[in-house]
């Protein structure tokens, strides 16, 4: 009893971690299920059918491919634009800096339905047909602010003396930027890009407002499936995504740990 009281915070914390992880475990377990009907809600028996045939449901791999392509382009563009904005805001004093910061913050404080529907009204007013291009415009928009915030935090944490040292050693501004500043900011840019990709890949609400029947992304496919019947392949892809994320995040934390130890 005394032990329980001493470790109350830890026990509560681990219970919360279970709450956080149980749905992922359910997704993994049910990827090996062989359901009787259209819905994969009830455990029937063990099977690897879905794993050996991940594209077995019509449309699933097309939607996955489209999501990966959109995610890739949205990540590249938003990371590039966002990093430039982050350098401007993090490194320079200029007129309109406060309103720039507000403009960067506002999209993050806007509910997704509002952002998606407002873009839809713009596209309607301009007579632009929804499709892959409109989805891309929307994704770059909502990824941008998150990239700016992530990269800006990294820039703010840099030691300005390192750049001064480079300048003292007769590096010109360009050399200083490429050899000193950029490698130091790189982890922030990588984190921003990773965040942008996962936001783009996972978005349903905003995408749904700006998509057409011929541009079905993976989340839209899952949503449609939830109304008609959920194929086991959804769980297979969900499992692969979870494992990929686990590996990526773990590698990232390993690298930053090693760097921190090397610096210490």
């Amino acid at each position: 009893m005394r032990w329980v009281r001493g470790h109350l915070v830890g026990i509560a914390g681990l219970l919360v971690l279970c709450y956080l992880l149980i749905p992922n475990i359910v997704v993994i377990v049910f990827s090996f299920n062989k359901p009787l009907g259209n819905y994969n809600y009830q455990w029937e028996r063990f099977s690897v059918d879905a794993w050996t045939n991940p594209c077995g449901t019509p449309g699933i791999c097309d939607s996955l491919g489209l999501s990966l392509r959109i995610g890739f382009i949205a990540t590249v563009v938003s990371t590039l634009l966002g990093t430039m904005v982050a350098f401007a805001v993090g490194r320079h004093r200029f007129r309109g800096r406060a309103s720039t910061n507000l403009l960067i913050f506002l999209p993050m404080a806007t509910p997704e339905v509002v952002m998606g529907s407002s873009l839809l009204t713009l596209f309607i007013a301009m007579g632009i047909a929804p499709g892959t291009i409109t989805i891309l415009i929307a994704h770059i928009l909502f990824c941008l602010s998150f990239v700016v915030v992530t990269v800006k935090a990294r820039i703010a944490s840099l030691d300005p003396r390192l750049e001064q040292a480079a300048a003292d050693l007769f590096a010109n501004p360009f050399q200083t930027f490429v050899r000193v500043t950029l490698p130091l900011v790189a982890p922030g840019i990588a984190a921003g890009a990773l965040l942008a990709f996962s936001l783009s890949f996972d978005d349903y609400i905003i995408t749904n407002f700006n998509a057409s029947p011929s541009s079905v992304t993976f989340p839209m496919f899952v949503w449609g499936a939830a109304q008609r019947g959920t194929p086991v392949q959804i769980n297979v892809i969900g499992t692969v995504m979870f494992l990929a994320a686990l590996v990526l995040v773990a590698t990232g934390s390993l690298i930053s740990n090693r760097r921190a130890r090397a610096a210490a």
Binding site: L20, F30, H92, L120, N208, F242, V249, L254
Partner: protein, 304 residues
């Protein structure tokens, strides 16, 4: 001091410094242009759309028809209230759940810290929809969770407080709040963790040395210092939760319809663009007001 250094700096550097002033604007140009064209202009277009009359087929004309707002609000105010109530409840629950985990990760986990951090972040990088669908499996009528809830009479309690309608857990207010709490939990844990990690643990020890009980230490030392993390986390949870309709659609019933669901169906199914745009604009206003009031109050509390 720095002013003196600038005076000593070689004059040859000065012209380039003046030239550098254009750099921030050049760096900002593409990003800010994107934000203005695809965020600010759409907001104006949304406001304009809400005051237009017409139909999808015949086209819309701006008539400053404010009656749309009156009609839309008188019909859909329960959905607004419900969204704020659900999002508020979920935010309080995520705070209660996230605090012990974030504190444990920051101060008690030792060498497990990085593993825990990976386990908190990784689910956040996996599909939101697939994880929400998993709750349908977890809460299903003949599953172990529902069985346990029935045998412990938890279902009766939930029914009594009207979180469920019968002895099933799915398709109820309970399921929607459970899903919202789950989905936005990482948004609360991460800012809290970032804040609590910077908390100097010797302050907690000092409070103990001065005979503060653990509860006093928490309320007088830890909680006030963690307020910035609490404010950040509650905003990151409340705002998306208030506009969300994935949870209420997949886990709820006709009595749990949230405002996001109404906006979505008015726009895409019913195609009443004026009503949909007015609801969307009102939601944005409500969020801005709530956030402004909350941030101001949290700010003054911090000063006290």
């Amino acid at each position: 001091m720095s002013g003196q250094l600038a005076d000593v700096a070689p004059t040859a550097l000065r012209p380039r410094r003046a030239g550098l002033n254009y750099t921030p604007y050049l760096l900002l140009l593409p990003g800010l242009a994107w934000l203005v064209v695809f965020f600010v202009v759409p907001m104006l277009s949304l406001a304009s759309q809400s005051l237009q009359t017409g139909t999808v087929d015949s086209g819309y004309v701006l008539t400053w028809h404010f009656q749309t707002y009156v009609d839309a609000l008188s019909q859909f105010w329960p959905h607004f209230l419900r969204s704020i109530a659900f999002a508020g409840t979920a935010t309080v629950l995520t705070l209660l759940l996230a605090y012990p985990l974030a504190y444990f990760m920051a101060h008690k986990s030792g060498r497990w810290k990085n593993i825990l951090l990976v386990l908190v972040i990784a689910p956040f990088f996996t599909s939101f929809l697939i994880r929400t669908l998993a709750w349908q499996i977890i809460l299903t009528d003949n599953g172990p969770v529902a069985g346990l809830a029935r045998s412990t009479h938890l279902t009766n309690l939930l029914q009594w407080v009207q979180l469920t309608n019968n002895d099933s857990l799915m398709n109820s207010r309970f399921a929607v709040i459970c899903g919202l709490t789950y989905n936005f939990l990482p948004f609360m844990i991460l800012p809290l963790y970032a804040n609590l990690e910077r908390l100097d643990h010797s302050l907690v020890e000092a409070a103990g040395d001065l005979y503060a009980t653990p509860i006093q230490t928490f309320w007088r030392v830890i909680w006030p210092l963690s307020l910035p993390g609490v404010v950040g986390g509650t905003l990151l949870t409340f705002i998306p939760a208030a506009g969300d309709f994935i949870n209420s659609q997949l886990l709820g019933n006709t009595q749990t319809v949230m405002i996001g669901q109404v906006i979505d169906s008015q726009f895409l199914r019913i195609q009443d663009y004026a009503t949909a745009a007015s609801l969307s604009f009102v939601l944005m206003l409500i969020i801005v007001v709530i956030v402004a009031v909350y941030v101001r109050r949290a700010g003054t509390e911090e000063l006290v």
